[in-house]
């Protein structure tokens, strides 16, 4: 679909590559890509580099248009893109957040071991599949009226917890404590609300999943212990989903609205999907207020799903919650724009940090890191493909200095969905996973083929780059044993 890219990429060191502003007139800052020689390969065949250069056009962008090592070709922003703009004279771009606002991951520990879970993995995966609505067109078990949906938009996972879905401690270990400030339901269209009501409490389809996984390596004992990861063979649960059609509609609405604003404010852009407005304009403020509603919806969504996952484990293993010890480790979002403070040229400055397929990675001592992790750093979760590994990591000072406190969010695709489906059938993917000791349940075999391991980069390579570059540090590696795919 795209011609090979013929631009300029300069090597800075083994893990940092720069696209100079001279590549394209209009770039306000250079592009900076965290990657390695061996991972650069396929990027020449697609338009991800061009997208890094395009993001550098955004008014008010600071230092670099950044890309994490899971970078791949997106629409507008590259996936794995990070861009920080000055609040005082910069812009906010809905395309820099994406359609799935606050898509994110939540990791939960258990007291269970692989030996206990393996014999019951099929009933467990079945129970999770039954208990947690998933798949295209699925509707949730939660029935909210518009008034209640507005409370979800403002209060996020706290609303779900107070309704009996989860524990107060879950909220403490959620980014933004599960509710972004500044959410205003008046800035959300009735279309978005109509899409949002039936989909609350659903996993969705595509790359969203639940993963029962086993701790396979521990690299940092102290940090692992702080997270309740104590031994090899311990079973964890990973939840990956976002704001569903509610967030998709908010992005759709605001890309169209800000496309008009671009003309009014005389902003010149190389790609219409980068539509943006000054952060301090009414349009920019309205988008941030609506985006925050979707972020809160997503946190409530993951909160409901966690509750049903706990119920599912309790039923299958016949144990109490106390015996199961299913404590939430943390919940991070990887599609979001946030106002954060950084030191730029020796001065503190408020920036709007867009993370499009990138995870916040704050270091030890940062006031936004929950107290229980303050001495080690913010937990970061990097799911791989469903056949290999996922990683637990920590945010760092290097990330604060170089990437506006951000790191990668996953493996990153190398193969298109169509190519994956052409070369693989869902049933074969399920069989190959079974041979590797992974039980999968899905509502759509076609969707399973699209998400096969072969379609993704090896997440180990991606995480090694972030580790060696220092923007996040490895804590533990996990292996999946059971997967529910939407």
């Amino acid at each position: 679909m795209a011609a090979p890219w013929k631009g300029i990429v300069r090597k800075i060191d083994d893990y940092r590559w720069e696209i100079p502003t001279s590549y394209k007139t209009g770039m306000l800052v250079p592009g900076l890509i965290f990657t390695s020689e061996s991972m650069l390969g396929h990027l020449w065949e697609e338009q991800a580099f061009e997208q890094v250069a395009n993001v550098a056009f955004l008014p008010g962008i600071v230092r670099h248009s950044l890309a994490m090592p899971d970078i791949h070709w997106g629409y507008g922003f590259p996936i794995g893109g990070v861009a920080a703009t000055r609040v005082k004279d910069g812009v906010v771009s809905p395309g820099g957040v994406g359609f799935d606002i606050n898509c994110g991951v939540r990791l939960v520990r258990t007291n269970l071991t692989e030996d206990e879970v393996r014999p019951k993995i099929e009933p467990l995966v079945d129970q999770l599949f039954v208990n947690i609505p998933s798949g295209l067109g699925s509707e949730g078990k939660i029935r909210v009226k518009e008034k209640e949906l507005e409370e979800v938009m403002v209060r996020g996972s706290r609303w779900a917890m107070e309704k009996g879905y989860g524990l107060p401690d879950d909220i403490i270990v959620t980014e933004e404590s599960g509710s972004m400030k500044g959410a205003n339901p008046d800035k959300v269209s009735s279309k978005a609300k109509k899409r949002g009501i039936p989909q609350l409490g659903t996993l969705g389809s595509g790359n969203h999943f639940l993963e029962v996984e086993v701790v396979d390596e521990i690299y940092d004992l102290k940090a692992a212990k702080a997270m309740g990861i104590e031994a090899l063979g311990q079973v964890l649960l990973l939840i990956h989903t976002g704001s569903r059609g509610f967030g998709h509609q908010i992005c759709t609405d605001y890309v169209a609205l800000l496309g008009e604003a671009v003309k009014r404010y005389g902003i010149s852009l190389p790609d219409r999907q980068l539509a943006c407005a000054p952060i301090n304009s009414p349009e920019g403020q309205d988008y941030l207020a609506a985006m925050s509603c979707a972020a809160n919806y997503a946190w409530a969504n993951r909160q409901f799903i966690l509750h049903w996952a706990r119920e599912s484990f309790a039923r299958v293993f016949g144990k109490s919650q106390q015996e199961l010890g299913m404590r939430q480790i943390y919940d991070v979002c990887h599609n979001i724009a946030k106002i954060e403070e950084y030191t730029i040229n020796g001065k503190k400055e408020k920036l709007c940090v867009h993370r499009k397929g990138a995870t916040r990675a704050f270091p030890a001592g940062h006031p936004d890191v929950p107290e229980i992790y303050r001495s080690v750093g913010q937990p970061v979760f990097i799911p791989g493909d469903m056949g290999r590994y996922s990683y637990v990591a920590l945010g760092t000072e290097v990330a604060m200095r170089e990437t506006f406190g951000s790191t990668c969010h996953g493996a990153g695709r190398v193969q298109s969905r169509a190519a994956a489906k052409r070369s693989l059938r869902g049933v074969d993917v399920a069989r190959a996973l079974a041979d590797r000791g992974i039980t999968v349940k899905t509502g759509s075999m076609a969707s399973l083929a699209e998400e096969a391991s072969e379609a993704y980069k090896d997440v180990s390579e991606v995480v090694d780059i972030t580790h060696k570059a220092g923007i996040s540090l490895k804590v533990a590696r996990t292996k999946p044993i059971g997967v529910v795919k939407g």
């Binding site: 070709w73 359609f99 008009e260």
Partner: protein
Amino acid sequence: MPINKDFEILDHTADVGIIAYGIDLRQAFANAARALFSLITELDDLEEVLYRDIELAASDVESLLVAWLNELVYRFDTEGVLFKRFDIIQLDDTRLQARVYGEKVDSSRHELKTGVKAATYHMLKVDKTDGFRVQVLFDI
């Protein structure tokens, strides 16, 4: 270029693009909508049992194409209706009026394939030089 197909599906690393053709803009817009629903399900499995009327306005023809496809994504997501026939009654660069035919999802007869989050403006093209040809990238 002779037009012997209605639309084609384009490879993209994370998402899916389409190119739709037509002898006029109306046909190209209708074929783009068929391409969208071909991603979601098998068009041949669909019956025409209900219809919906759609009226839209946008500031230019590219935005109108995105608005048209996003309206259909919205209708599918909120009403569970899969569409297969798109009669575009009136179309110029800023206004569209259409009647679209399809049926509600019936899981015993319809396989739902790919979820489409939205039509994007990335790589968006409306080309009127050699027949009519429109290109759209969907976020999947």
